[in-house]
């Protein structure tokens, strides 16, 4: 079946603009995760959802970052007033349930470039 998908694959924006990044998890997966990967680094956790609610948003760097999952499936990561330091690959993952025993399946990522 289809894996996790993310759109767009690439996004170039200007400093100060607003962007939305979309994640479509694997059908039936109730847990959804967002990570950010800066150049030369491993992925860093941002937020994860169980169903519609954010179970842990402790990784969001500041209040310019916000994520939603209104129907418990598709999720959108929103970044306001983008800064050059936000440039990174944003990864989404999903798992069947919220437990360490369930593998997290990753999407291809969205490469965000802030000019």
């Amino acid at each position: 079946g289809a894996g996790v998908s993310q759109t767009p694959s690439n996004k170039v924006t200007e400093k100060g603009k607003y962007v939305e990044l979309r994640c479509d998890p694997i059908s039936g997966h109730t847990a959804l995760y967002w990570y950010r990967q800066s150049l030369g680094q491993g992925p860093e956790f941002l937020i994860y959802f169980q169903g519609t609610g954010a179970a842990d948003d402790s990784g969001l760097p500041n209040d310019r970052f916000f994520a939603v999952r209104p129907e418990g499936s598709v999720s959108t990561l929103k970044i306001q007033r983008t800064e050059r330091g936000d440039s990174a690959v944003y990864l989404c993952a999903s798992s069947q349930t919220l437990t360490v025993y369930n593998e997290q399946f990753f999407g291809p990522g969205t490469r965000l470039t802030v000019l």
């Binding site: 894996g3 996790v4 847990a31 995760y33 990570y35 030369g40 680094q41 491993g42 992925p43 860093e44 956790f45 994860y48 179970a55 842990d56 990784g59 990864l91 798992s95 919220l98 437990t99 360490v100 025993y101 593998e103 997290q104 399946f105 990753f106 999407g107 291809p108 990522g109």
Partner: protein
């Protein structure tokens, strides 16, 4: 605090030689440990995890709690093993977020 350290950014070995990718972690409890791999132009995928005690594609990893290490090993490297490898942990206290190391780029020379 949870931290994963992969001391080698780059590792290069010859085909057929043994390979070991180092991973050390710091966590006060008993974490679950994972190795993820990213082949060229592919997405990040799970290679193996400690709780499964599996051997995947000839790779194994042993958790050493005394040394807080989870090194990845393969006795005979193959060219298709060239990839980016990330060690990661999940803290056992209910948090499901993966904490990744910075990764090691493994190159297998023919």
């Amino acid at each position: 605090a949870q931290r994963v350290t992969q001391p080698e950014k780059l590792l290069s070995v010859f085909k057929g030689a043994p390979v070991e990718l180092k991973c050390n972690y710091s966590y006060s409890g008993s974490p679950e440990l994972f190795w993820y791999v990213q082949y060229s132009r592919q997405r990040l995928q799970l290679l193996l995890r400690h709780i499964s005690r599996e051997s995947i594609k000839g790779f194994t990893a042993d958790l050493n709690k005394g040394e807080t290490s989870f090194h990845l090993k393969k006795p005979f490297a193959q060219e298709e093993d060239s990839a980016m490898y990330y060690c990661a942990l999940i803290g056992a206290q209910g948090a499901q977020k993966l904490v990744f190391g910075q990764g090691t780029r493994l190159t297998i020379n023919p």
